[in-house]
Amino acid sequence: MQPSARTMPDTVGHVTTQDNRPDLVVLESVSKRFGSTAALQDVSLRGCAGSIHAITGENGAGKSTLMKLLAGVHQPDAGQIRVAGQVLRLRSPAAARAAGISTVFQELTVLPNLTVAENLLLGREPSRAGLLDRAAMRAEAQAVLARIGIGLDPQRPGGSLTVGEQQLVEIAKGVSTDAQVFIFDEPTAPLNRAEVDKLEQLLHTLKAQGKLVFYISHRLDEIFRLCDTVTVLKDGRWVATEPIAALTHDRLIALMVGRPLQALFPPRAGTPPGAPALDVRNLTPLAGAASARLQLRRGEIVGMGGLEGQGQREIVRALAGALRPAACDIQRHGRDGQPQAYDPRLGVAQAVRQGIGLVPEDRKQEGLYLDLPIADNLWLGVLRGLGLVRQAPRQRAVVSGMAEQLQLRASSLAQEVGELSGGNQQKVMIGRWLAAGVDTLLVEQPTRGVDVGAKAEIYSLLRAFVAQGGAVLALSSDLPELIGLCDRILVVRGGRVVGDVPAASATEEGLLALALVDAPAAAAEVPGVMAEVAA
C-alpha cells in the first residue's frame, strides 16, 4: 500500500517523552477498517522501554484491534508502526514475533492435541539439523514453567487443561519468548487471585528488565495497581494518554465511557419478594453428586458464587434443562400464583414453555445466531412459544419495542448480531427471553465480556425484570457484581448451597470464607487453589 514506508529513513523514531526514556514502539496515525466498520481511526501511541502501558476502553473501543496491528494479525490500512526506530510492516504473527513482539492473545490458542511443552514452543521449536529436538523441547518447557512458577506437567495434553491453566500456558508462552515488546490482551479473565498475583510479579520483572509491556484491560483496579501509563480508546479513536498518577478511578471511567457514569448498580427493591418462582427441594445434577436445595422467589435477584468447579454451573444448567439432572424435586409457582410441578429432565423446550430461560455464559456458541440479524434473534423468543405450524404474528412491532426496551445500540435491527459489542449481544440474549415471556431467568456470568457502560444497563434491565414479578438467578464469578446486583447470594461448595447471605451485608471476604473449604488459612496450604472464586 505504501511502498515508501518500508525504506523511509526514520527521523522521528527516537523522540523522547517527558521522562526522557526513548520510545520503543511508535504507532503513528494508524487506521483499520473491517468492511464498512472503522475499527480504528487515526490512532497514535508511543510506548517506552521499561514501562507497563495500559490500553483501555469499553468493549468495541478498538483496544484489541490496535494491539493486533502490532502483533501482525492485522495490517493497518494507513499509518505506520515503528519499533526501535525501524519502520516495520508486520505481515503475520510470525513476522511480529521475529521483530521482538510477543503477544498473549485474548482468545486461548492452546491446541488440545499438543502437549503443554509443544504448545509452549509452537512456532519456535528447538531443532537440530532440521529435526525436532524433543529432549531440548521438554527441558526448555520445564525450565520456563519452573521459572514462572507454574506447576504443570509439560507432557500433559492441552485438551486436559482447564481454562485457567490454558491461560497460564499462554502467559508462559508469551513471557518466555525472547522479545522486547510484550502484549497482554485481558490476561486475567480466567485466572484466580493467586494466579493474578503471579502474573503481576511477572509483569514487574519484565518492566525491571527494560521491556515494554502493553496491557489491555478494563479492570480498573488492575490498571491502577500495575501500570505506569494509560491510553484510553473509544469507538476506535484515541481519547487520552495519561500517566497513572495523574488519574483517579472516576476520571478514568469518565474517559472510557465518555460521560460520567451513573451508579453502576440499580437500587434494590424495597418490597419483600413474593411466591417462590422455583422451590428446589432437591436437585442432584449428576448421579452420585451432592444435592442442592434453594429457593428463588419472585421480585428478587439471587446470586450464586463459589470456588471454580464446585458444581454451581451444573446446578444452573440442570435447572434450565440444559443438563439432565440425575434426580430432582422442584415446585414452581406460575405468574398466576398457582403451584405447578417443574421437571427439568423434560428438556430445555419444556423449561421455556414453563417460563424459564437460560442466558448462557458462552452466548456466542450457545445462545445467539451470530450471522442472523438482531430482529430474528429476538423474534426467535416469540416463536419458541408457538406450535410448529401456528401462524406467527407480525414481528416488527414486537421486535422494535423490545429493542427500545433493551436500549440496543445498533445501526438497525437488520444488523447481524455477530457485529455487535459484547454488551449489546448480551442484551439481545436477554431480550429474546423477555420476548418469549419467561418469568424466570437463569443467567450465567451476566456481564462477562461486557464493558462498563453496558454493564449498568444490563443490571437495570434485570432489576426491572424482577420488579415486574420476574425472578433472576445470576451465576457470577465477579464478587463485586454479586454483592452489588443481587438481593441474596448463595455460596456453593461441593455441589451444596452452604451459604445464603443477604447481599446488602455481604463482603468479599465473607463470601470467600464461605466458599473456601475451611478458613482461608487451610486453603493456603494447597498451592494453586487459593481463592479461586470463579464459576
Binding site: P93, F105, E107, L111, P112, G123, L132
Partner: protein, 305 residues
C-alpha cells in the same frame, strides 16, 4: 497423550486381528503362501496411498485425487521407455498436483472435497489421453523392484517400511509434523502462534500426492503395465482405511499405526470377498458402508465429515 493424538483405540487394533483370525479359520486357502503374498501385494498400494491421505486428514482435509494420480503415474511409467525418466515425470506430476490442491484449499479457500474432486476428474482425463486402454510396458528394472524379495524379505514389505519410515520421520521428528497436528486442531490458533498455515497445508497435499505417485508406480510395476483406471477405487478406499484407523477426518488426530491397521482391515476384507466368491461389485458397496460406519464411530464435535 498418545491416545489423544493418535486416535488409536482397542477397536482399531483388534479389527485386523479379528479379521485375520476369521479368515484363517473360515477360508481354506487364506493361509496359503500364494494368497498371503497376494494380500501383502494388494495392501501395499493401499497402505502407501493411505499414508498420504493421513497427512491431508491431519490438516482437516481430504484428497480424492489420489486415485487419478495413481492411474496417471502408472500410465506415465508404462509409456516411458526410460524407467528413470518415467519416475521423474511421475514425481513432478505429484508435486504439481499437490501444490495445486494445497493452494486451492489454503489460499483460494475451496473446500477440499471440491478442489480434489476437480483435480481428480482433470487427471483422469489426462490418464486416458496418455494411455486410452490398459497396456504399455513397465521397464523390467522397475518390475523387479515390486516383485520377488530382497534379503529374504518380500519387496512389497520394503516399500511399505520405507514409506512408513518417511512419514514417521515427517510426523514425529520434524517441525513440519508438529505443525500439521497444530493446523489440523485449530488453524487460527496455530497461525497466531507463528505457524505458517498455508505452507503447512500445501506441504500436506504435496506429501499426499507424492505418496500416491509412489503407490501408482508400485501398482504399475506389479502388473507390469499401465491402466488408466487402475487407481480409481483408491480415492475412497484410502479415506476409508484412514477412518478405520481412527484418524479423525476433522483434523489433528491420527497415526501411522492407525493407518496400518485400517489398510490391513480393508485389505483383508477385500481378500475375504475374493476367497468366499462374493460378487466383486459388493466390494464398492462395502467400502462405502465401512466408511460411514468408521466416521460415525468417531468421537467428534462437528458432525459432518
Amino acid at each position: 497423550m498418545t491416545a489423544l493424538r493418535s486416535g488409536v483405540s482397542r477397536t482399531t487394533l483388534a479389527l485386523p486381528l479379528l479379521l485375520f483370525g476369521v479368515l484363517a479359520l473360515a477360508a481354506p486357502n487364506f493361509l496359503a503362501p500364494q494368497n498371503l503374498a497376494n494380500v501383502v501385494g494388494q495392501i501395499t498400494a493401499l497402505l502407501i496411498v493411505s499414508l498420504g491421505q493421513l497427512l491431508v486428514a491431519l490438516v482437516a482435509g481430504i484428497d480424492l485425487s489420489v486415485g487419478s494420480v495413481m492411474s496417471l503415474a502408472g500410465c506415465l511409467v508404462a509409456t516411458q521407455p526410460d524407467p528413470l525418466w518415467g519416475m521423474v515425470l511421475a514425481l513432478l506430476l505429484g508435486l504439481a498436483v499437490g501444490i495445486a490442491n494445497g493452494l486451492g484449499v489454503a489460499v483460494a479457500g475451496i473446500h477440499p472435497l471440491i478442489m480434489t474432486l476437480a483435480t481428480a476428474t482433470f487427471l483422469q482425463g489426462l490418464a486416458y489421453l496418455v494411455l486410452p486402454i490398459p497396456g504399455g510396458e513397465v521397464a523390467p528394472a522397475l518390475r523387479s523392484l515390486a516383485d520377488g524379495s530382497l534379503w529374504g524379505v518380500p519387496q512389497p514389505l520394503l516399500w511399505c517400511a520405507l514409506c512408513a519410515a518417511l512419514v514417521y520421520g515427517l510426523l514425529h521428528r520434524s517441525r513440519l509434523g508438529l505443525h500439521l497436528f497444530a493446523v489440523g486442531a485449530q488453524a487460527r490458533s496455530a497461525q497466531l502462534n507463528g505457524v505458517r498455515v498455508v505452507g503447512v497445508t500445501v506441504a500436506a497435499y504435496v506429501g499426499c500426492s507424492l505418496l500416491a505417485v509412489v503407490a501408482g508406480v508400485y501398482l504399475a510395476a506389479r502388473v507390469a503395465s499401465g491402466d488408466p483406471t487402475m487407481g480409481a477405487s483408491f480415492g475412497l478406499e484410502s479415506v476409508t482405511a484412514v477412518a478405520l484407523g481412527g484418524v479423525q477426518l476433522t483434523g489433528g488426530v491420527g497415526s501411522i499405526l492407525g493407518v496400518l491397521t485400517g489398510a490391513l482391515s480393508l485389505g483383508l476384507i477385500t481378500n475375504g470377498i475374493n476367497l468366499f466368491g462374493i460378487s466383486p461389485f459388493l466390494r464398492g458397496a462395502l467400502t462405502g458402508a465401512l466408511l460411514l460406519a468408521a466416521v460415525c464411530s468417531q468421537r467428534r464435535k462437528v458432525v459432518g465429515l
